[in-house]
């Protein structure tokens, strides 16, 4: 059970990192995630079932997610549709796209190859752990390389201070589109890997995934404060694993799984409110922390 939860944590961490690249770096919430995640699953599973190699199928899922991000990005920057609404429109539209891709609401991978088969000789769940860690290394090092290029720095600046970025000649609209494309590609990758681990894809598989992704980010930020960008990405992995262990513990203690979503949302809501609670209770002043001007 424990190793299974850790393995799941690694796969969900990919989602958390994808969400982080828009939510924390560009500073806006992108709801496309709830559509691009199951889209990645649907594309990967359909491709595998129709005889395509799992590696190629997973890559196809990534491209599908990037496409979804591109649509959201164009709606937001060129169409001037508010970003939350753009995400909702794409997320909702993707439901039909998934039905079109799979031709049914859900599709099983029973008796079909998976990415994890390459490590089939290992004990249970270790294949998932290895694929998870390998993918995380690829994603994190790829993102870090990008963030420390000239373009990546312009990307970070766009989220940090948009008017300054524009005054320095950074094309902030293109940066936002780029962010949404990359982010949703990563999110679809996570969807593809989780679907292969679960053994099926479902059109409704995206409900609540943003909460899971945000949970790993928030846990990472609460446990590890003041870290560099690279360290932050690694701590999201730890946050994601901790979150899965927390869920496991909750279930072990006999908590009714009907309420698991409510439980997750409540925990997240409390964490998100902490800055406000601090202010209200004047805890900042007590601990001597005051914003420097």
């Amino acid at each position: 059970m424990l190793i299974s939860a850790i393995a799941q944590g690694f796969l969900w961490a990919i989602l958390g990192i994808g969400i982080y690249t828009t939510y924390r770096i560009l500073n806006f919430p992108d709801l496309t995630a709830e559509g691009s995640f199951p889209l990645g699953a649907a594309v990967a599973v359909t491709a595998i079932v129709s005889g395509i190699h799992p590696v190629v199928a997973t890559a196809a899922a990534v491209f599908a997610g990037m496409g979804a991000g591109l649509v959201t990005g164009l709606l937001y920057t060129k169409g001037k549709v508010p970003v939350i609404l753009s995400g909702i429109l794409v997320m909702s539209g993707l439901h039909s796209v998934m039905l079109f891709v799979m031709q049914r609401p859900n599709l099983s991978l029973l008796n079909h190859p998976r990415l994890y088969d390459a490590f089939a000789g290992l004990p249970n769940y270790f294949d998932v752990v290895i694929v998870g860690i390998g993918t995380l290394i690829l994603v994190v090092s790829g993102l870090l390389f990008f963030f420390y290029t000239s373009k990546g720095q312009a990307y970070i600046a766009t989220g940090d201070n948009e008017s300054m970025a524009r005054s320095l000649g950074i094309q902030t609209d293109n940066m936002k589109i780029l962010g949404l494309v990359v982010s949703n590609g990563i999110i679809a990758l996570s969807g593809a890997l989780i679907a292969q681990s679960n053994g099926y894809a479902d059109v409704n598989g995206g409900i609540g995934v943003i909460v899971i992704g945000l949970a790993s980010i928030i846990i990472a930020e609460v446990v590890f404060k003041e870290v560099t960008l690279g360290e932050r990405l690694v701590t999201i992995v730890i946050g994601s694993v901790l979150y899965q262990l927390l869920l496991l513990a909750v279930i072990r203690f006999g908590f009714d799984t009907t309420y698991i979503r409510l439980f997750s949302s409540s925990i997240l809501a409390v964490f998100l409110m902490t800055p406000q609670l601090h202010k209200g209770l004047k805890l900042d002043r007590l601990s001597g922390k005051e914003e420097r001007e």
Partner: protein, 260 residues
């Protein structure tokens, strides 16, 4: 004479909540020549900031034409105009990226208006230059190269903004009351630094200020804006003759008009 930047009949009209047309800039003609250091005075709502926004392109104009070195740029977006325009904002928070360090901000500014590629950013190669540059300001900025700018004082942030803006020698420097948010001492020091840089780098500059002494002390040309128009445009000679009292009189007249 051909100017560096020419504004012809630039007008900006915005609609307020009750759909009333509000003319912020009213057929402004202005020619900025190379080497000009123009101080811009005007009461609240005179259109100073809108004039700046029209020049940078952060706000589209309703009508009129803007040309840079004879080339029409009226429809260029702000990002494209950044190639030749540098701007320091009034609010210290506006000019720097708070989560990025001082040296990262400088590196961003070094590439003003250039294409940014997927190549490593080359921070180390520039670190020594940045350190010397920051040391030249003399307010301890050089000890904070790897501090996120959000942790700096307002004065440090504004001097960093100024360094960032002048790093690439912009053809036109716009200062939008850039010392107004600082305490008097810091404000004075930043103004001295600003003047030094403008003289040293022979920059063409437009500076909005609320401090009439500064408007008289600095620059070689002074314009006074009122109700969206350039009411006065004084050259060096006329400006030298102007006294603080004259300016106060001009302003009182303006305020009297506003209250009518």
């Amino acid at each position: 004479m051909n100017g560096l930047l020419e504004l012809k009949q630039v007008t900006k009209i915005i609609q307020n909540e009750s759909d009333m047309n509000n003319t912020i800039l009213d057929h402004v003609d202005l020619t900025i020549r190379e080497g000009d250091f123009i101080t811009v005075l005007g009461g609240n709502g005179a259109g100073k900031s809108t004039l700046f926004n029209s020049i940078t392109g952060s706000q589209p104009v309703t009508s009129g034409r803007i040309a840079f070195n004879g080339k029409p740029v009226t429809n260029w977006p702000e990002e494209k105009r950044a190639r030749f325009i540098g701007r320091v904002f009034q609010d210290p928070k506006m000019g720097t990226a708070p989560r990025m360090t001082v040296e990262e901000n400088l590196l961003l500014a070094l590439k003003r208006g250039q294409q940014r590629h997927f190549f490593p950013r080359r921070l180390k190669e520039n670190r020594e230059d940045f350190k010397q540059l920051c040391a030249s300001v003399g307010n301890g900025l050089d000890n904070h190269l790897d501090t996120p700018t959000g942790h700096l004082s307002g004065g440090q942030r504004q001097s960093l903004s100024l360094l960032m803006t002048t790093l690439t020698q912009p053809d036109l420097l716009l200062l939008d009351e850039h010392t107004a948010a600082l305490d008097p001492k810091t404000s004075k020091r930043l103004m001295t630094l600003t003047n030094q840089m403008i003289q040293q780098k022979e920059l063409t500059c437009l500076m909005i200020t609320h401090r009439m002494e500064d408007a008289l002390t600095y620059g070689n040309r002074l314009i006074l804006m009122e109700n969206g128009k350039v009411k006065l445009d004084l050259n060096q000679e006329e400006k030298d003759k102007l006294t603080l009292e004259d300016l106060f009189v001009l302003f009182e007249k303006e305020e009297a008009l506003e209250t009518v």
